[in-house]
Symmetry: C2
Subunit: 226 residues, 2 copies
């Protein structure tokens, strides 16, 4: 892993010291993530880590999901962004409990941030807990947050080839959502080819197309969640 980016690619870094330090950072993260996983299990909380490029519709999907699932079970949200409380403000307007984590120049949430957010959020036993990660199709894939499932979102405006070009993220996914299918008539996106590309890097991962703004096929997403 690279000292500055979290990559596993050593061809441009010769230093053993660097590699050892980075292994320590990830090992420490994994240890803390396991503690979080135990803490969540004890309280019957199911945590879902949402990851995607910036602007693929994570917050819009959460707004609709929270409204549609209202009353079914308690929902809480951890919002990750480099700066601004904008997404937490949007989620709060749905009536949901939310904590914003700003990472500054950072490119992902890590287990320490997740632990701090949980202390502040204190979700009710039996909650569904969504974590909206920082918009980034690369770095968040490496950091276990103690979640029960990783969901990767791609929107049809981003192009069919993304699973092949960013395979680490798609390989980490328990579910791939293809969002903004309401825009399919206006963009060059091949859903069948996208499914094949996801299968090439992650054969077991289900792929669900939907539209968070218009509501197409969100029932399949709710089924997966339950």
């Amino acid at each position: 892993m690279c000292a500055t980016c979290g990559c596993d690619d050593h061809h441009h870094h010769a230093s053993t010291e660097t590699i050892t330090l980075e292994e320590r950072v990830l090992a420490k993260n994994d240890l803390l993530a396991d503690l979080i996983r135990g803490r969540l299990a004890e309280r019957g909380i199911h945590a879902v880590n949402l990851m995607s490029s910036p602007g693929s519709g994570k917050t819009t999907l959460l707004e609709r999901t929270i409204r549609d699932l209202a009353g079914a079970r308690p929902v809480a949200v951890v919002e990750g962004d480099q700066e601004t409380p904008l997404d937490a403000d949007r989620i709060r307007r749905t009536g949901c409990t939310v904590v914003q984590v700003n990472t500054g120049a950072g490119c992902h949430l890590d287990a320490a941030m997740m632990s701090g957010a949980l202390d502040e959020l204190n979700p009710a036993p039996g909650s569904l807990l969504f974590v909206e990660n920082v918009g980034n199709l690369i770095c968040p894939a490496l950091f276990d947050l103690g979640e029960g499932g990783k969901v990767v979102i791609i929107s049809v405006t981003e192009g069919t080839d993304k699973p092949l070009k960013y395979p680490y993220m798609f390989a980490a996914a328990d579910l791939v959502l293809v969002n903004k299918i309401d825009l399919l008539p206006y963009v060059d996106f091949d859903l069948d080819a996208c499914r094949r590309h996801v299968a090439a890097v992650n054969p077991g991962a289900p792929v669900l197309p939907l539209s968070a703004t218009r509501g197409d096929n969100v029932s399949s997403w709710y089924e997966w969640l339950s």
Copy 2:
């Protein structure tokens, strides 16, 4: 800066050892970038570093730009992606010289990769050299490649708030392109608000709306390049 992500945010990392190592990595990158800048200047090569989220249209813009500028001056391209030669293949079909750099799990190009790519590419004196960075609105902002200008692309499908939520990237930009304006009728995007958000984090940066697929306003982009 964080050992695993390149962030400047230390609230979750106490180790002085970590910070020192990361400072060394960036300092080494900057030194090499200055050498590259000198090498390019000697040969009259102007290098432009294109950065954006995945799927904002960098490759499509390059395909059109190379075709439209054919004959004006020699053009060469360095393509960055985690995996696959897909983008280099697209660029090669325009008749342009191109080198693909695959970063593996890495999240950005660095000066060492740029230096290696230049050795292989050997652009003609007087060339216009495009670098298409890895699709990532965060990490590439930190790494100087010895380029003459940084261009950040956002597409209208990504949402108006991106400059505020990813301020480090927009603060680094010499030019902001707002791409996919052909999709404006179908999405909720406020161009004036986006301009204000860019100005809030980078008061001097020009903002050019365009459509790489349809060709709207690409002449302004060519003017900026010349």
